[in-house]
């Protein structure tokens, strides 16, 4: 997938209808974005119940703010900005106490793998989830937006209201930190 190119957002039609107050159109938007929104919320909060609740709160905020969405950015970028702000505010209220020790997503994601998936593949994914969980929240957020939500650097900068240079630097630091953690977790012979 080529990053940084302007692509017609497939959500545009639903967004236009939802702006006019069409509940069904907004329902479609939720249906098509909920997995990414939930994953982003989870990576910030590290708590499945909180992530689910805050994802819902973020959607309600998006619905209420939709008349003000001017289309200056892609809808998904705008939505992720709301999700990020909502979750970061919640996290500031709760502190680190919100985080759960066990990585629920890792276990849930394991369930998605095909039965024939190799032990190595499962092991690698577990290591990834575990390593990501050890990263600071801002690193997890940029990694999630880049690799899972497939946003470009510009879109991440817009979502997090950070300068482009800061986003690139954070992503670079996040990759290095993750690489070190993955190496540490590698079984030694």
């Amino acid at each position: 997938m080529q990053r940084g190119t302007v692509v017609q957002d497939p959500l545009d039609v639903w967004v236009a209808r939802a702006r006019d107050g069409d509940h069904d159109a907004f329902g479609e938007i939720v249906r098509h974005t909920q997995t990414q929104v939930y994953n982003l919320a989870y990576q910030i909060l590290r708590n499945p119940q909180e992530a689910e609740d805050l994802a819902q709160v973020a959607y309600v905020r998006a619905w209420r703010a939709l008349p003000n969405f001017r289309g200056d950015s892609r809808f998904s970028t705008w939505l992720y900005r709301i999700v990020t702000n909502t979750c970061l505010n919640r996290r500031r209220q709760l502190g680190r106490s919100v985080e759960l020790g066990d990585d629920h997503l890792a276990l849930a994601a394991d369930g998605q793998l095909q039965p024939e998936s190799s032990v190595i593949e499962r092991q690698t994914r577990r290591e990834l989830w575990s390593a990501v969980g050890e990263l600071p929240e801002r690193y997890r957020t940029v990694l999630t937006l880049f690799y899972q939500a497939q946003l470009s650097y510009d879109d991440i900068a817009a979502s997090l209201t950070l300068p482009l240079g800061t986003v690139k630097a954070q992503l670079s630091r996040a990759r290095r930190a993750l690489a070190r953690l993955l190496e540490r977790d590698e079984p030694h012979e």
Binding site: G27, Q34, Y38, W63, A109, T124, R125, L128, A179
Partner: protein
């Protein structure tokens, strides 16, 4: 190696590239000689490969129904909110103008018959202004001053707005940078 740091960013870029070939000759030579940088490249490439295959975790529950239920409890109309400052700054300027002229009338403040020399219009326009003021008498004088105040405050308001707009990205950068430093400090303190 002492110059490893100079290759730091290029190694990161190489690790993120989709190709394995190294077009940068200096980097190629450095990697051939430096086991530490080769190991760093291998580490970063492995992380990149794993991250590119990072799957989205499934949702525990579908969010559509609960979100729509929450939305149904809220009014459709967006709540009251501040107008953007690009609107309210000029609006405030115009309000000050009208308020000043009205207040001057109410208090009975005697407004000068004409604008100060520094504010006078080009000579060619003076007869036009005079002909506009003459039939209106005292009201014409107020109108004249209202126009002057209006022009002054509105242009000042628009000027302030444009000035703030041009600085907006710098303000955002500064805020983000400060936030980033604060987070880094907190993280250091935690470790």
């Amino acid at each position: 190696m002492s110059n490893c740091r100079t290759y730091h960013d290029r190694i990161a870029e190489l690790a993120n590239a989709t190709t394995d070939s190294i077009s940068d000759l200096a980097l190629q030579q450095h990697l051939a000689q430096c086991p530490s940088c080769r190991a760093e490249l291998a580490r970063l490439r492995r992380a990149e490969t794993v991250l590119r295959a990072w799957p989205l975790a499934p949702l525990p529950h579908d969010l559509v129904a609960p979100v729509m239920a929450r939305i149904a409890r809220y009014p459709t109309e967006p709540g009251w909110q501040w107008l953007p400052w690009t609107v309210w700054v000029p609006a405030l300027a115009i309000t000050i103008t009208i308020g000043t002229v009205l207040a001057a009338n109410l208090v009975g403040l005697k407004l000068p018959e004409s604008a100060p020399a520094a504010l006078t219009l080009p000579p060619a326009t003076m007869p036009i202004m005079a002909s506009l003021r003459q039939p209106l008498g005292a009201a014409g004088r107020d109108l004249f001053w209202a126009i002057w105040f209006g022009l002054f405050f509105t242009l000042a308001g628009v000027g302030v707005s444009l000035g703030l707009m041009s600085r907006q990205s710098q303000l955002d950068d500064l805020t983000a940078d400060l936030r980033e430093r604060w987070e880094a400090l907190r993280e250091t303190a935690r470790l």
